[in-house]
């Protein structure tokens, strides 16, 4: 077991509302954007994950994605290359629900994360845009500020 690693999210697609898709092509380097200062995220999963984290940090109200038309951005197999993200998604689910048993339900865990991502994406967008510098600096400063101010706990 110690050397076995499994990715419960392997078969789950990650979707975002069509309206929020633009941020992924604009701010991720995988979209073919070569200027790092303008497109700070190496991959789409990095932006998505940050949105999850920001929403959790600011205790934003999760958004039910069922009411939107969505588009797939990545599939869950991406987490296979970053085991810590799998653990983090599980811990978020436990932290948010207070229920440890949720770890056996990958789809539930993912929908919690998804709802957070959709809540967090407009905020991350705002972080990238607000400021006088390039997106990477705007975002860095905004995160720096967020980390200095106490987290809002539900």
């Amino acid at each position: 077991m110690a050397d076995r690693y499994f990715n419960p999210f392997q078969a789950i697609d990650i979707n975002v509302p069509v309206d929020l898709h633009e941020a992924f092509t604009r701010y991720c380097q995988t979209g073919g954007n070569a200027v790092i200062d303008q497109s700070p995220f190496p991959r789409m999963v990095d932006l998505w994950f940050l949105a999850v984290c920001v929403a959790a940090r600011l205790n934003l109200e999760p958004v039910d994605t069922a009411q939107y038309e969505t588009r797939k951005i990545i599939d869950g197999s991406i987490f296979g290359s970053d085991p810590w993200r799998v653990h983090t998604l599980m811990l978020i689910a436990i932290g948010k629900t207070g229920d440890v048993q949720i770890v056996s339900e990958p789809r539930k865990m993912m929908s919690i994360a998804s709802a957070l991502a959709v809540a967090g994406l407009p905020k991350v967008n705002e972080m990238l845009k607000n400021g006088n510098a390039e997106p990477i600096w705007n975002l860095s400063d905004a995160i720096d500020t967020a980390l200095r101010s106490p987290a809002r706990i539900a």
Partner: protein, 713 residues
């Protein structure tokens, strides 16, 4: 293809010259011995002009005179220029009795006229004719370019016809990375025949736009019709933009080369004008700027990595994680995470030492018995239910995600470091820029018309280079925007199609074309990847063999490879990357480029000549010999244009490998370097049959010492 013979008429120094090439597979080498300024580079240009026309001449032939410079008009003002190349093409056909080899011979004749008017001249467009040669004579063949394109693709001109010095442009540090990459990439893709797949991809793309047309026809004036029309327009715009982007990229490379070339000329001019110190300072300042640029890029990447790393997540999530770990701790305290033993026990097993200090070595009887016992404990523990297993895994596996209570934010710490490094580097970079501009002011103050002329030229080239770069990025942005719009519209179109009765069939067709595109795309990438690896490996082994005998470099250089980004990289001990300019000596640099050229020709399985001008310059001793020997072995037909110095020390190898050796002499070298007066008034190169060991009345040269003293016989 193999070269058989070539002849030139009024092609610069080659007023009338015929060359024969060895096509004997046992003696693949042809050596043309010629001192400097005796027509070596002219032969290289002449062969390429014959095969590819004006586009293959320096500067694409613009302002490049072809007729002999001392044309006096007595033979008329209209100078006929002719280059003829005879070659042999081997084809294989599978017949009833196995593979059948057919050899066909061809003669290619290119001719043009230059109207000479005093110092100026005008050249008519060249005409080219191709003949198939057979026992009874020659029969003309239509569309000669097609055969040449097949046998010696123009994109590979640099690989088949190489100037030993220019070839270094594949690796040299003072050439922009993108330029080198582009050269390597272009060469590799051309050799692997990837054009065919590219063509297929274009074809499928067209098919998909045809399907879009069908969608357009459903319900004129409807929303679907509007979207399909918009998609059609986007397709067209996209193609146009891609073409423009291609052009801009090529322009950038061309102007970048011009800038580098002018820099070299300025450096030479400065040295001539006793301004060596200024030249050195400039070079140093430029190097510093480049170095700082690299560091800035690296810092930039590190900054970006802050958003893919773990810290940003754990720091932001610390309240949530705290809560989750709290839950896990509760379970742990209640003894509901019992498998704590497993990792510990497994640790012990691999350490072969029990917690109590007893041995767990599998070889010893007690050790083996205890091992089995421990393994049983592990197996028992593993039989807990699934949830517990996942939780246990999480509890132990997510240790690194636990918030560190006393520490502040680790992300902020990293971010602080990056701000410092980026700011610091920016200050240094600004400073280096100022230093450079100050030196440029010194240059401005020089009253040397040559240098000022060159600098003006450089400014213009650089201007054009920068313009093509900004054009590239603006086109890139436009394309990206277009693609985004396309994605959204496609999505919308497919949604609307699904609502239509006829839509299902169209959607199915679209899906098929998309699938085919994906297959082709992945084939394209796989071939590039696999073949690139083959070229890379072969280049490495040829390179190491060539420099293997060099004790000085042997200790530094471990291996060379072509990266997936098409960069040629050399590694030293501990996988440290080496800078070809600084860490490799001249011989190794030459060996590396020759290894690349030979590997590429070989992996492509194209039977093609390698004609190389001055391949052994800057090499000596064992390395020189091993470069020559390896090159002969790896090439299908090797034509080397060598100086006497390059030949020295390799006579035996040439004796064994060469099927043809001949000597060229420039009569203008009398009396300084030639012993006998050739009695030739015109400037022209003369050929004699002397091989690398002999000299005749015509080609006998003074020794260096005699030449220096100006001794006459």
């Amino acid at each position: 293809m193999k070269l058989l013979r070539a002849s030139f008429e009024n092609f610069r120094l080659l007023r009338d010259l015929e060359l024969k090439f060895s096509s004997d597979p046992e003696r693949k080498l042809t050596v043309v011995r010629a001192a400097n300024e005796s027509g070596k580079t002219t032969i290289l240009n002449g062969l390429q002009w014959a095969l590819y026309g004006d586009a293959a001449l320096p500067g694409k032939g613009e302002d490049f005179r072809l007729h002999p410079i001392d044309w006096d008009g007595s033979g008329g003002h209209r100078v006929p220029i002719v280059a003829t190349v005879e070659f042999e093409v081997t084809t294989y056909r599978r017949g009833p009795s196995g593979l059948r080899e057919t050899r066909r011979k061809f003669r290619l004749v290119r001719s043009a006229f230059e109207e000479v008017n005093g110092k100026t001249s005008r050249r008519s467009p060249s005409t080219v004719r191709l003949f198939a040669l057979n026992d009874t004579g020659a029969s003309p063949i239509d569309a000669p370019e097609a055969l040449i394109n097949d046998e010696l693709p123009p994109e590979l001109r640099d690989i088949f016809f190489t100037d030993g010095d220019r070839a270094l442009s594949f690796i040299e540090a003072d050439v922009a990375v993108s330029t080198k990459r582009e050269r390597v990439q272009r060469a590799i893709r051309a050799l692997l025949g990837l054009g065919v797949i590219e063509e297929a991809i274009r074809h499928v793309r067209k098919a998909s736009s045809d399907v879009n047309k069908q969608a357009k026809q459903i319900g004129a004036g409807s929303e679907l019709n509007k979207i399909a029309s918009r998609l059609e327009a986007i397709d067209e715009d996209g193609l146009k933009l891609e073409g423009e982007l291609d052009d801009a990229e090529q322009q950038f490379v061309a102007f970048d080369e011009k800038v580098e070339e002018t820099d070299r000329k300025i450096a030479t001019a400065l040295q001539k004008g006793d301004k060596e110190k200024l030249q050195k300072d400039l070079e140093l300042a430029l190097r510093k700027i480049k170095h700082l640029d690299d560091q800035l890029t690296a810092a930039n990447k590190e900054h970006s990595a802050l958003f893919r790393g773990q810290y940003v997540a754990t720091d932001l999530l610390s309240p949530v994680l705290d809560r989750a770990f709290g839950k896990l701790e509760e379970l742990h305290d209640q003894g509901k995470i019992p498998n704590t033993t497993i990792p510990v026990l497994e640790d012990r097993l691999s350490a072969e030492l029990c917690i109590c200090g007893e041995t767990l070595k599998p070889g010893e009887p007690d050790g083996q018995r205890r091992r089995e016992h421990v393994q049983r404990l592990i197996d028992d523990s593993k039989r807990v239910d699934e949830i517990q297993e996942i939780i246990t895994d999480l509890y132990y596996g997510a240790k690194s995600l636990r918030p560190v209570s006393d520490a502040g934010s680790r992300w902020r710490e990293e971010y602080g470091k990056i701000v410092k490094s980026r700011d610091g580097l920016q200050v240094l970079s600004d400073e280096a820029g100022r230093e450079f501009r100050a030196l440029e002011l010194q240059l401005d103050a020089l009253r040397d018309t040559d240098i000022q002329g060159l600098r003006e030229a450089r400014r213009q080239y650089k201007d054009q280079r920068d313009r093509s770069l900004s054009k590239q990025s603006s086109l890139g942005t436009q394309l990206a925007g277009l693609r985004r719009e396309q994605e959204v519209l496609k999505h919308e179109r497919d949604r609307l199609l699904r609502e239509q009765e006829k839509g299902a069939r169209i959607i199915a067709e679209l899906e098929v074309t998309q699938d085919v595109t994906r297959v082709l795309q992945s084939a394209y990438e796989r071939i590039t990847h696999d073949e690139l690896k083959k070229v890379s490996d072969l280049m490495n082994s040829i390179f190491l063999e060539m420099i293997g005998a060099d004790p000085e470099q042997g200790a530094i250089i471990r291996r060379a490879e072509i990266s997936p980004d098409f960069d040629i990289i050399v590694y030293g001990p501990n996988d440290r990357t080496l800078n070809p300019d600084r860490d490799l000596n001249g011989a190794s640099r030459r060996a590396l480029t020759l290894a690349f050229i030979l590997a590429l020709t070989k992996v492509s399985e194209v039977e093609a000549p390698n004609v190389i001008d001055t391949p052994l310059g800057m090499t000596s001793g064992y390395v020189k010999r091993s470069i020559l020997r390896t090159a002969v072995r790896e090439s299908a037909q090797l034509v080397l244009l060598l100086t006497h110095d390059e030949i020295a020390g390799c006579e035996d190898i040439i004796g064994e490998a060469a099927g043809v050796v001949l000597t060229l002499t420039n009569p203008a070298h009398y009396p300084k370097m030639l012993v006998n007066d050739p009695h030739v008034a015109e400037r022209k190169v003369l050929r004699c049959e002397c091989d690398h060991r002999h000299a005749c009345r015509l080609c006998q040269r003074r020794t260096d010492a005699e030449a220096a003293l100006g001794v006459a016989t």
